[in-house]
Symmetry: C2
Subunit: 189 residues, 2 copies
């Protein structure tokens, strides 16, 4: 048994990102990722089922999103509950020190079909988690599905703005603004 | 050179669906699919780059969707243009004779992560095609993105209803109703 490694998943993800940038996703092996991180292959597989998964440690994001929707004031409408979740992500995940990594990660994902597919499915799962969290607040199911779609779009818009190297704003304010814009565009239909 | 085969892609998809149902996606080879369809492996690869793609001959769907949005009356709003595209799909693709196949295909996709991932990415590509088609009508980009998200949700709702064995309605009326419902739920935000 390998000894406990502080933040092993984070180190593995950072090492993987470096290697995917240097030589491409296809040309990188799990062993190389583990070595670059100063860890073993078996440590890698304790955290990730395969190479494709190493950039998708999204359980924290899902947890913050679901908890953020649940903890919105009882009077908050569905999109206000989603805005509350974006604030939680701003505070605990999309922090300034993660911005550069997030931008580099997105560029690597965009360049590879396998990774784009995995990302697409993760996004569907995330939207499903939003719908469930809204459902638990008593939001009617169709309203919850629409809110999750609009929330997902606002997230995408805000995230692209946030990782832009020229951007100085935090994820939270950008996401709230995107949600306001999306809501206004939706009301026009 | 193999001789020309009438509807080879359709026969390959039907054979693949049979085999995926019988023995699972993982346990089926391209050679077995080609043999079941009475075709050769090289014919298979003339139409599909890999096994994963055999159930995703979606170019017809994309074409109908884009053309349906483009051909809506100039005065039609973005969601009305999307409704026009759904009517086109109803007439030319989601026809009664394709309903049983569509339902079986969806069950196979839902059961396999690789296929779900491919489907998720195809859906993103389809949404992007809708956005482009709306953009060419002069719809502002954010309005187009919202309309495409709502259209995509209405499609999903209507498709699930359409393939239900107990359903007797056509895809077009179901999709128009779903779009009306989604629009009403969106306006409530």
């Amino acid at each position: 048994m390998a000894r406990w490694q502080p933040d092993a998943p984070g180190r593995l993800a950072a090492a993987a990102l470096d290697l995917f940038e240097e030589r491409g996703y296809e040309n990188t092996t799990v062993i190389e990722i583990a070595e670059r991180a100063g860890l073993t292959k078996s440590t890698f597989f304790r955290y990730f089922p395969d190479k494709r998964e190493v950039l998708f440690d999204g359980s924290a994001v899902t947890g913050l999103l679901v908890e953020g929707i649940a903890s919105a004031p009882p009077t908050a409408g569905p999109l206000d509950a989603v805005a509350n979740a974006f604030d939680a992500l701003d505070r605990a995940f999309f922090t300034l020190d993660r911005r550069e990594f997030s931008g580099r990660r997105q560029a690597v994902l965009n360049a590879n079909t396998e990774l784009r597919e995995r990302e697409a499915l993760k996004r569907i799962d995330l939207t499903a988690s939003m719908i469930e969290a809204l459902d638990r607040r008593g939001v009617p199911i169709l309203t919850a599905r629409v809110a999750a779609q609009l929330g997902s779009l606002a997230w995408e818009i805000a995230f692209d703005q946030w990782i832009d190297p020229g951007n100085g704003e935090g994820f939270g304010p950008l996401a709230r603004q995107a949600l306001t814009d999306v809501r206004a565009a939706g009301a026009a239909h």
